[in-house]
Symmetry: C2
Subunit: 270 residues, 2 copies
């Protein structure tokens, strides 16, 4: 799925919700933990219950890799299970010298055919370019993240700009508005108006709403552009809404609440 198809889905579903499958095996309901394909079974139930309320699923690779081979298999099964009607993101935050980044791009665009992958900017252009060479895929570069320690480097000044602003300013020439997005944390919503001055047209993947405390209304108000331009990710507060046998139903309820709230903001701010 590409950006234009994503925008179509957002308009159809009146939702710009991405659900993060941060499937921590310790946190899934007890009755599933002992089944053979516990992680996939959990994801399957969550996807079945929530698919109408979101336009995207984001697989956080860490939670799969930590389970070794079995986890990698669960990641493959989950990606296969998600319909082509959803924009699929590998939240992998990779980035290395060129020949190595080319292998990571192959991993998440070919071996596992995701629509998009998150990439870390620290090493600069040649570490990001191999991802952008897949022009029909989407590279999502870290800009300003939702964690407290964003202060350590991202919010340090380079000349008159924060490092993260320098990243945005520099990276926009590496890709196009169609194949490059940015991660901008919702916990920094006050920065969004300013960020929209630098990148008015790019899509933003916004984590930090929900468990991390970011405000969906502020994100929508300051972050939305004429093409919506927002994909707001919620992970834990949807997928772990309940740890009982009704976990999927409860996840659907929370996802639906987000969808309703989003449909209001689409009317109000678009």
């Amino acid at each position: 799925m590409n950006k234009m198809q994503l925008i179509e889905k957002i308009q159809q579903k009146k939702s710009f919700l991405c659900i993060g499958l941060d499937t921590d095996i310790q946190k899934i309901p007890k009755h599933l933990q002992t089944t053979q394909h516990a992680v996939f079974e959990f994801n399957k139930a969550i996807i079945d219950a929530t698919k109408d309320f979101c336009v995207s699923y984001k697989i956080n690779t860490a939670f799969y890799e930590s389970q070794g081979l079995k986890g990698w298999e669960a990641m493959e099964q989950t990606l296969q299970y998600i319909s082509s009607e959803h924009f699929t993101i590998a939240d992998a935050k990779r980035g290395d010298i060129g020949n190595t980044s080319a292998q990571y791009a192959k991993t998440f665009f070919e071996t596992l055919p995701f629509d998009a992958v998150t990439v870390a900017p620290y090493m600069g252009e040649d570490s990001v370019k191999p991802f952008l060479e897949y022009t029909n895929k989407t590279t999502i570069l870290l800009g300003l993240t939702s964690n407290k320690s964003a202060n350590d480097f991202e919010l340090q000044k380079i000349g008159n700009n924060f490092l993260y602003e320098k990243v945005l300013q520099t990276a926009i020439s590496w890709g196009t508005e169609n194949n490059l997005m940015f991660v901008i944390g919702a916990t920094q919503a006050s920065e969004l108006a300013n960020i929209r001055k630098i990148i008015p047209n790019h899509f933003l993947l916004v984590p930090g709403v929900g468990a991390q405390g970011g405000s969906l209304q502020e994100v929508s108000k300051y972050g939305m552009n004429k093409e919506v331009g927002l994909l707001v990710n919620v992970s834990r507060s949807i997928i772990f809404a309940s740890d009982g046998e009704n976990f999927a139903e409860e996840a659907a309820k929370v996802a639906r609440q987000y969808q309703i709230e989003m449909s209001n903001y689409l009317e109000e701010y678009l």
Copy 2:
């Protein structure tokens, strides 16, 4: 293996060579490419042939992930095959918000019991801390990398310092000289004297010698400290020294040349 044991091995073997197993399946000898466990068979032969000349092996996770499940299996097999006499590094360049970094730390310190993992600093302290909580393991943080685009951000000025200097200055308080190392590219050897002013005692993992053109002599001259403090990684120019049936022998020859050169520098500069 911890830092003290690594130093012992360096002194015993008169080598501070790390061999990078960037095992690109396209580049391994034709006669191996069709075997069932091609990547592992290749690594096994390289390890058997080179183990006396190096103190460490570095597995570049990208080359394994790009092969999917089969690649992950080859990574497991290779790690198991490397003896406990070698310092094992997962070159993974991970880093994410705290609960996710904790999963990556689990991946590379428990599920795959490496001695060390490389980590990206962009997101700051809380993205690195979960790795450092494993005090008997080693976290290797990116400082100044060996690629040309290090200029884009790492070599941008924050106040009077380059970003990478700010990373070094800030990160030294996160861990200890025993569980924290830094990646400093050999292609930037002129910076090493300056870097040693900021981090006189930490070990450095130095990529960029060999295919990327860094000088081993300069790295040794400007980077060595009283505990050696250097682990110089060479990947392609050793493991792909030949693509014939004699690939392992040729790899051993190149590794041995590096070991001899290193033993001279240990005498000259230590």
